[in-house]
């Protein structure tokens, strides 16, 4: 008998371990947060479906804890099976562990870190942004959920105008200008698919400070992205050579040199936005446009103080040299394009004949 008991100890332990593992897997499985497919939503909503559920944070702010089930079903995550615990990783049990955040803002700034788990590339881009850079000093600097929402996340650009209205939550003053502009009004009123929304110029997640030397020097190319696209411009009957002609202009050559050599040195030569405006761009025939003939002199005077009314004609505009638009320039151009070949070919041929004659004369003399 003494010899049989020890032989049974191993299988008993083995069976006990199996039962324990089975119990763990069946009872505690919902606690495994790294599984995207969970069944937590219905379970959580059994409490959080109560519209009156809320709590008071140490700051005195009331934190609503109600989740609208219908609304949640329409979000991008829930139908994919990405449920509560995908983000609320620390809540594994009921009663929940105590909330240690003082304010609602503090809570938001902690919870958005969950986004990184799945959206790591975008999260990293956002870390390089202007918003992330100021976040240390400014708690209002937006985190993922400020733009995208938290529970009821929808596609951020459906409709496209949603992008700009989202930005307007903080950048209201700029938005008010933009909304009136040729770009903004086409977006808001016609849901135009071609006009830029905020993110088309400023970037999406890695939004940079638009006041830097680098942004300024790159900005003409930004505009050219659409305004040098012949197909796109033809839709709106706009010329697509404005950027190429700008590059030949006084301002444009200056800017291209700075771009190539000194992108980090501030320069004052005019870029597109200096004349046309930034968020308040209007069609040139709109009386509100800074480049409308009525306003053009005042716009020039911002950089060229004290210039007279003739000054605006010194700018040939985004136009090729033509008799109708710039007769003087046209005639000077014609004069030189005819004079140069006449003078240089004339002088060249004459000198050539002289050389030939000298050679012939010398040969004759030596052969005489």
């Amino acid at each position: 008998m003494d010899r049989r008991w020890p032989r049974l100890i191993l299988p008993i332990w083995f069976a006990a371990a199996l039962i324990a593992a089975g119990l763990y897997l069946t009872v505690f499985q919902p606690a495994r947060a790294d599984q995207p497919h969970q069944e937590t939503e219905a379970y959580c909503l059994s409490c959080h479906g109560n519209p009156d559920l809320s709590m008071t944070l140490p700051s005195g702010e009331v934190l609503p804890l109600f989740i609208d089930a219908e609304h949640l079903k329409q979000s991008v995550h829930s139908p994919l099976g990405i449920e509560c615990q995908a983000c609320h990783t620390e809540i594994k049990t009921y009663p929940h562990p105590p909330i240690e955040y003082q304010t609602r803002r503090e809570l938001s700034r902690a919870y958005y870190l969950s986004c990184e788990k799945c959206h790591s590339t975008i999260y990293e881009k956002a870390q390089d942004s202007m918003h992330a850079a100021v976040a240390a000093e400014n708690p209002s600097a937006p985190v993922c959920t400020d733009c995208h929402g938290s529970h009821y996340i929808q596609s951020p650009n459906q409709p496209r105008s949603l992008v700009s209205t989202t930005c307007s939550n903080c950048h209201g003053e700029v938005y008010e200008k933009y909304k009136e502009s040729i770009h903004g009004s086409a977006l808001m009123e016609e849901d135009n698919p071609d006009v830029p929304v905020c993110t088309d110029c400023h970037g999406v997640h890695n939004i940079q400070d638009p006041r830097t030397e680098q942004f300024r020097i790159d900005s003409p190319e930004l505009c050219a992205g659409c305004h040098a696209d012949a197909e796109l411009m033809s839709k709106y009957d706009l010329p697509a050579d404005v950027y190429d002609l700008y590059k030949l202009s006084w301002h444009g050559v200056d800017v291209s040199v700075y771009k190539a050599r000194w992108p980090t040195i501030w320069h004052d030569s005019a870029v597109c936005t200096d004349c046309h405006g930034i968020h308040d761009i209007f069609q040139t025939d709109d009386p509100r446009s800074s480049v409308n003939p009525e306003n053009l002199l005042a716009t020039c005077q911002e950089c060229h103080p004290g210039v007279g009314p003739n000054w605006t004609d010194a700018w040939t505009g985004h136009h090729e040299i033509s008799l109708e638009r710039s007769p003087l320039l046209y005639y000077i151009d014609v004069f030189y394009s005819s004079l140069v070949p006449v003078v240089l070919w004339g002088a060249g041929i004459y000198v050539f004949l002289q050389i030939v004659h000298l050679i012939v004369e010398r040969s004759r003399r030596s052969l005489r």
Binding site: R261, H304, V307, A314, I332, L339, V340, L353, H357
Partner: protein, 244 residues
Amino acid sequence: MSEQPMQTKTDSPPVQTVRVFKRFSLGQRWEHVLLMLSFTVLLLTGLPQRYRDTGWSQQILATPDMVYLVQTIHRIAAVVLILEVIYHLGAGIYQMARRKLSADIFITWQDVRDAGQMVAYLLFLRKDKPTFGKYNFEQKITYWFIFVGIGIMVVTGLILWFPETITWVLPGSVVPASKVAHSTEAIVAAIFIVLWHFFHVHLERLNLSIFTGKMNEEDMKTYHAREYDRLTGEKAGQDGGKQP
């Protein structure tokens, strides 16, 4: 060594008097030096500005300070040239009015005939080279081409220097027009000088009279026979135009 008689030159060469003719005054010679220097500096500092969008220009204009420096040198040289132009016109008009300067530099019908004959000669349609006065038509072309060219460069250059002021008086379109004229005229003038002027004063013959102020009899007879005749009362000869 002392035994040997010293070799002495028994037949000294026949004395040859070389007559030289005054061609340019000291003032004129200095004017040419000033013109030459300012023209060169203006060209060297102007080219990088004209071709700012090219790599070699950006090698020179490597910093915004360099751009400023090159512009400043260009403008200093321009002021020198403008002063020289003012002196040239003032002195020329004054001296001509007092009959101290001949009007030889002005183009006459004779120059048109000379040019026609010269082209015929170069095309072997005519045996004799035409004879010329103090300034042949080639030299007059050089002078007047540069005269008009500098006029254009000074006017357009001042417009480009003070565009904001000048458009109070002149229409705005003079500014881009000046830019085209200034940069094109400069290139044409530079190529013309190298091609035309350098050929005539360095290759066809070495003519340094603008520096020395003088020209010897040989060259006078060969290249400026009519002037030689006028000064000496002699005939440079029917073959005056031919190479000796």
